[in-house]
């Protein structure tokens, strides 16, 4: 599945990470030699976690379609575990929760791996959404029923359904782009995550006006505009590795960086409501899987469907 373009992209990301690690180390020696500056420590933890994430992704790309599907199935599992920890449910929902993790999640990724588009695009919204509440209802508990059912459904939608559209990109058939679909995944993740990082950087440098003060003080208009535009510019400059023309690439980048921003915003609203700062603790410096994936999760289905409608023959 490797292609020269993928190697170029990975080499580019590797160079950025080497640069970031060197800068992080210099900052640490200057400002936090004994680990006393939490901002610098967090920055270095984030950079180290990026290394791990990029290496995992690269290994999955080398392993081919099964590797990528498996990686995202595991990410979905970890994300769902974080989400379900915060949702309202009681003992009557035990079997429906077990089904979410051990039946619906594997089936969804199985449908992706077998390229059954007609099934994976409706399996969760139709079959899972109708049958799961039945499992809860049969146990007879009506307390907070609608809240329990809808929170479980939303967890599945975000953590499984949306996330599974990332590996689904591998199965699009784009004339003239055969054998290079993995670039679509690398491109989507690269542009969206770059936009996250650049929003953070622009926000730290110039951020004054908060987009949604009650949600997240760190999301500013300056960060949003600077981050999405600069990520879009870099994504557009990489149009030659995609099936898109420069103008199309710019439009796609704008679309996915904005969806990524909205993802961060919506997931922040949930965290704020539940009184937590991070979804989890497994990715040092970043928080949980959902903290890192929220933007990609929101961008992936839209990126998938637009690419499918306009460029794919399936």
């Amino acid at each position: 599945m490797t292609s020269p373009h993928l190697l170029w992209l990975l080499a580019g990301v590797g160079t950025i990470l080497v640069l970031a690690s060197v800068i992080g180390e210099i900052l640490r020696l200057r400002l936090s030699p004994a680990g006393e500056n939490p901002v610098i420590e967090n920055l270095n933890a984030r950079i180290n976690a990026w290394w791990v994430m990029v290496i995992c992704l690269a290994l999955a790309f080398i392993a081919g379609k099964p590797g990528v599907v498996l990686l995202f199935a595991l990410c979905s599992f970890a994300a769902l575990r974080e989400f379900m920890t915060l949702t309202t449910h009681n003992r009557a929902d035990h079997w429906s929760l077990v089904a979410c993790f051990f039946l619906i999640l594997p089936l969804q990724y199985w449908f992706i791996a077998t390229d059954w588009y007609g099934m994976y695009s409706i399996f969760i919204p139709v079959y899972a959404f109708l049958l799961l509440p039945v499992a809860s209802a049969l146990r007879g508990s009506t307390r907070d029923f609608l809240i329990r059912v809808s929170e479980t459904q939303w967890a599945l939608m975000i953590c499984v359904y949306c996330a599974s559209h990332v590996p689904a990109l591998l199965y699009l058939q784009i004339p003239g782009f055969e054998g290079r679909n993995v670039i679509l995944i690398a491109y989507l993740i690269f542009v969206v995550q770059l936009s996250d990082v650049l929003q953070y950087v622009w926000g730290k440098l110039l951020g004054r006006t908060s987009v949604a003060p009650t949600l997240s003080p760190s999301k500013t208009w300056e960060g949003l505009i600077g981050g999405t535009l600069s990520a879009t510019a870099i994504g557009t400059a990489l149009y030659w590795m995609t099936p898109f023309s420069p103008l199309e690439a710019a439009g796609m980048c704008l679309l996915i960086t904005l969806m990524g921003f909205f993802g961060g915003l919506v997931m922040s609203a949930i965290k704020r409501d539940r009184g937590i700062k991070d979804w989890g603790h497994l990715i040092a410096g970043h928080g949980g899987f959902l903290d890192r994936l929220d933007s990609v999760i929101f961008a992936a289905p839209i990126f998938f469907h637009v690419t499918r409608w306009v460029w794919s023959t399936t």
């Binding site: 970890a78 769902l80 379900m84 449910h89 989890g280």
Partner: protein, 215 residues
């Protein structure tokens, strides 16, 4: 030969059990007012699920885990060869008999003996699983007698959150949810302190660790 095979199998089983526990609960240890250093300690925790000591054992850093033995009920762990293997060989549990009429050894003496060999202990002072709505059942007096017998040993409260939702009583298949273990500042028995006063203080120390949004 048999003995070394048995201990190898025990290590492998221990690894499999703690990997499974991590997969299901991604346990997060929060050390609040105490550091995870290899000092001799008695960890006392709330008991809402059969998996409690496995999770506590898993959440300890491995140098601490190796010297820590759970205190468990002999009348549960010796009922089948598999349980006996897991209880004795894998977790190296201090097996005490909860039935006063049947036991030959004094549980507190057994725990003290384990402490004197240098081990740390995991105990559940409620004495049984709590499936009531109250956060804790009244503590049994074992914790007090242990504290009196070895007053220098740190008694560390540990609140285990969420595990009862992972595997509610009576269910067979667990649901993966993140569990948090909060380790609190150690307590010691005061020279003049009565049993009831000490147990009340230990209960408060443990309850103080419940997460604010444990709903």
């Amino acid at each position: 030969m048999i003995a070394s095979l048995r201990s190898f199998a025990a290590r492998l089983t221990g690894l499999a059990i703690s990997t499974f526990a991590r997969f299901m609960t991604a346990p997060r240890a929060i050390w609040h007012g105490i550091e995870p250093v290899p000092r001799q300690r008695v960890y006392f925790a709330n008991h809402a699920s059969n998996g409690d000591f496995v999770l506590l054992w898993t959440a300890l850093p491995s140098p601490l885990r190796r010297q820590t033995r759970p205190v468990a009920a002999l009348d549960y762990w010796l009922t089948s060869p598999l349980r006996a293997f897991i209880g004795r060989d894998v977790f190296n549990a201090v097996l005490i008999d909860r039935r006063p009429e049947a036991r030959t050894e004094d549980p507190v003496a057994q725990m003290v003996a384990a402490l004197d060999q240098g081990s740390s202990l995991i105990i559940f002072p409620e004495g049984q699983r709590n499936s009531s709505d109250a956060p804790l059942l009244p503590f049994k007096s074992g914790l007090y007698h242990l504290a009196r017998a070895r007053p220098q040993v740190d008694l560390v409260p540990v609140w285990i959150a969420n595990l009862n939702r992972v595997m509610p009583k009576g269910e067979i298949i667990p649901v993966p949810l993140i569990c948090t273990l909060t380790f609190g500042a150690p307590i010691h028995v005061e020279p003049e302190e009565t049993r009831d006063a000490f147990l009340a203080r230990a209960t408060r120390a443990l309850l103080a660790l419940t997460p604010p949004a444990a709903a």
